[in-house]
Structures are given as C-alpha cells and as structure tokens.
C-alpha cells in the first residue's frame, strides 16, 4: 500500500518524460539529426534551462514538448499523455523570442486572446487580465498598444498572455534574447518571483550561462551535430535567489561546470 502510493506520487510528479527521443529533419542537403537519444525527466515545479550553441536542438526539444514538432523516434509524455493530447488540453503557455503581440489589440485585449479562444466568460477574462498584469508588474498598461511599450514591457506582456489561462507548464524560447543586459537582469529576477508565486513548471531556452544558472533548478547542457544532452546539472542553489547570488562560490562553480559541458560538446567535432 505504502509502496503503491509512493510510485503513484512519483508518476504524478514527473511532468515531462522523454525516453530515447530522436528527431530527424529531412533537408535538401540530406537528413539532419536535430535530436539524438534524448532522455530527460522534468518534475512538477522544476525550472529547467536548456543551454547550448545554435543547432544543439534546445528549441527543437521545447517544440517537441509543445507538439509543434513530431519526434521521429523514441517516446515522450507530458502529464502522462502524448504532447499533442496535452496541447489539446491547453497544458502549455508558450513564450517566443519575439513578443508576437497583435498590433491591432491593446495589451489587455492581447492577453484576452487565448481566453477568448478558450471560451472564458467576459467577467472571468477581465478578472484574469488584471491578475496577470499585476503579476508581471504592468498594471495600468492594459489600454496601451504594443508600439507604446518598450521591448522589455512587450515581453512581459507576452508572458502575462501565457500565464492568463491555466496551463501549468510554461515554455519559454529565449524570451529575453533580444533585450539588453540590465533589462534582462530585472526580468530574470521578476521571473523567479513569478515562478515562486505560481508554482508552474518552466522550460527555458537560453544562450546565456549566467541566466541559466541564476534561474534554474535543473540545467540541461546540449551540444550540436547531432543534437544531444551532454550534461544535466541539478542546482544546489536555494529557491530564494537575490541577484548578488551570482557572486557566490556555488554559483561560480555551477557556471564553470556548465561551461565545461559546453566545451566538451564542442571538442567532439
């Protein structure tokens, strides 16, 4: 009895399970192995960063999770079902590198877009818009149009849009890649607070080692040709992380290990 409950608890704890995942893209120059033999478990409430050079398959893996790409081999389950079933149940909020806000909708109506599509009532829509605007510190900007906001604010609005409905997985594909360092630091700090408040499971693709180490509970280091996982680092850093944690010896040690992992991946070719 006792054993059974533990296994059940474990099964519900794993949000994403990938086993021997392969993905081959046919191209004009022959097939490209975007993902090769990827094994990974993401648990509920994890903040997982995917880091690696271009072409390592980090974005592809995120897209496979969201059922935007179909794997050509292996298995992957999300919430115990196939990614496509999870997509139909609206299990994901996806944030792209560009905010992708509709220029003809103001911020509030942009955030309402998924809510309209999913058929929430008008009152519920308004309530949720206010909630998520407050969550990303954009209260009072609902009536503004995207072009009236800075790049960082636009990206926050697009995060709010992904948070507005009840997806418990948030997938972020280099959301802060186009922003400058200072804005980025601020948004990283905010994102951590948001993660602590909402208890979502986050998959986060990045190029930046400090960003990955600062944000994550788990860092997945990947390398290209073929795209594969070279190292998975469980972060020993506490959940509460002020920005100056980046000067601590633990932080520097993890960053060093990530860098080593990236270098090892490169020396292969």
């Amino acid at each position: 009895m006792n054993i059974e409950t533990t296994t059940q608890a474990d099964a519900t704890k794993a949000v994403v399970e990938a086993r021997n995942l392969d993905l081959v893209f046919p191209t004009n120059d022959g097939p490209v192995q975007a993902l090769k033999d990827v094994n990974l478990t993401i648990n509920k409430g994890d903040f997982v960063s995917f880091i690696g050079p271009s072409g390592c398959g980090k974005t592809t893996f995120l897209r496979v999770m969201a059922a935007l790409e179909q794997p050509t081999g292996g298995e992957i389950t999300v919430n115990g079902m196939s990614p496509d079933e999870a997509r139909r149940q609206r299990a994901y909020g996806y944030v792209f590198q560009a905010s992708g806000l509709y220029p003809w909708r103001n911020i509030a109506r942009n955030i309402k877009l998924p809510l309209e599509i999913m058929g929430y009532s008008k009152a519920e829509q308004d309530k949720r818009v206010n909630e998520v605007l407050e969550l990303v510190e954009l209260s009072g900007f609902g009536g503004k149009y995207p072009w009236q906001l800075s790049g960082g604010m636009q990206q926050r609005a697009s995060i709010a849009r992904a948070l507005a409905f009840d997806a418990d997985i948030l997938l972020m594909d280099e959301p802060f890649g186009a922003l400058d360092e200072i804005v980025r630091d601020h948004l990283n700090e905010q994102l951590l607070k948001l993660w602590a408040r909402t208890n979502k499971t986050i998959g986060f693709v990045t190029h930046s080692i400090p960003e990955a180490v600062y944000l994550s509970t788990k860092i997945v280091v990947m390398s290209p040709r073929p795209g594969r996982i070279t190292d998975v680092i469980e972060s020993p850093l506490p959940k509460e992380r002020p920005l100056d944690i980046r000067d601590s010896p633990e932080f520097i040690e993890i960053a060093h290990r990530v860098r080593e992992g990236l270098r090892a991946g490169h020396s292969d070719d």
């Binding site: 996806y94 999913m118 149009y145 072009w147």
Partner: protein, 309 residues
Amino acid sequence: MKTLIAVLTVLSVIIAFWYAACLPMNIKGVLTEAERAGAEVTPAGAKERRDLGEFGLVLDNSFAIPATWAQDRPRLPAPHQVAQELWKTTGAMVLKGKMMSKRSLFYHGWVTLSATLLGFAIGTGLGILLAVGIVHSRVMDMSVMPWAIVSQTIPIIALAPMIIVVLYSIGVQGILPKAIISAYLSFFPVVVGMVKGLRSPDGMQLDLLRTYNASTNQGFWKLRLPASMPYLFASLKIGIAASLVGAIVGELPTGAVAGLGARLLGGSYYGQTVQIWSALFAAAILAACLVALLGLIERSVLKRMGMGA
C-alpha cells in the same frame, strides 16, 4: 511651404508645356480658317502648307498664335478651354439649377459612378471570397490563381463587347453589364492583396495559436483577417481606379448615351475635342476623389484598430 512651391512649379511647367504644344498642333487648322476669312498667310494655300513643318509655320505667322488657343474644334484644346468646358458642364449647370440635366457632367459622372461602385462592390466581395478560398485550400490555390492571372492578360476592350452581347442575349441590360466589366477589372488586385495579407502572419504567430488549440475559424477571424487589413486597403485603392476604367470601357461598345464613356465616344464622333478632354478630366478627378476617400477610410479604420501610429 517649400513642398507647395515645388508642386506649383511642376504644375505650371506642365501647363506651360501644354500651351506650347497647342501651337504646332493647331496651327494648320488656324491658318486655313484665317485664310478663308481673308487674312494674309505665308505661304498662301492649304496645299502649299501641307508638307511644311508646324514650327516654321508658327514662326512665319505669329499673328495666328492667340487663335491656336481659341479654336472651336482644335486638335489639342488649351487648358483654359478644357477648364471652361468643365465649368460650363458642372458648376454653371448647378447654378442654373440643372445639375442633373443631360448636358451636365454630374449626370454623366453619376451614371458612370453608380456602375463603378456596384462593380467595385461585386469585385471586392468576389476577390475577398476567392482569397479566403485560396489561402485555406491548396486545390483552390492551384486551380483558381492561374485563371485569375490569365483573366487579366485579355485586353478588357476586346472582352467588353462580348460580355455585353452575351448578357443582353440572356436579358440582362442596364447598369449590370457595366458593373460586371468593372468588377472583372477590380477583383484581381483584391485577390492578390488579400492572399498576401491573409498569409502575412508568420510561423510564430501560427504556432502560438496552435498552442492555444485554436480552430481554423478562430485563426481566421482573430489573426489572419485583421492582419490583412493594410493589404486590403492598398488593393482597394487600385481596385476602385480599375473599376472606374471598367465602367467607362463598358459604356463604349454599347453606344451608350449617358456616362463619361458616352461623352468620350460622342466627342470623338463629332470631333468635339474639348468635350473629350473635359470628360477625361472629369474621370481623372472622380478617380482621385474615390482613391482619396478610400485613403480617409483606411486611416480611420487602422487608427481605430490601433495600427495607425
């Protein structure tokens, strides 16, 4: 201010060139008339002058220059003659309370405009429907688009009489045949613009809707259609000008008695060049007004959509 001066400079150069062009164009006619009226012309005799250069004739008979701008039926009427005719058939008629008399350009303009607007409405509606089909169905993309392109390679002037004859034989006449010719010209820019507009959302936008599990319908109304608006308006501006051309061309082969096309045709039957030119200008002014009106609608719509910064 600077742009105003530049615009006025260009305009006055065009008008000066036009007046100058009247000299060689009209000199022979003027000299023939003058000789008949008893004036001394060098060289005497229309036969003698026939093979001489027009510029030389102007220089030898400078007394005749004012007359080249004041003929009844000049080869090329002077700007003020066209302006006078325009006023006589528009403003002056209004002052006399005969705005819709058969000699008024408002009357003829309205006849053409009503066919234009009907044709524009048909063409725009058809164009949007075709574009929606082409974007959503690969079969339609492959089967309709080539025909739409081919349809525009046939000169409308060759096709218009057939359309009128065919429609007449099944009992359709009046405004509709003209409107159909006008729609035939205006649907094409709308199809091309709308296809481009409906396809303008990028892969990321479509992926985003996929993560929401949005239906094709929702994708159309919430993303594709609003994204296509700027493209639609660009097409509409081309479409309305093409509609007007279509309506005018539709009036030519029928021997219509009303409409700007009828004025053009009538003018050329009776050698009334001033009438032809004033009808041409009326058509150009009408087209400019229509395009400007669409521009205003575009600005207000895009502004209301939040896209006009």
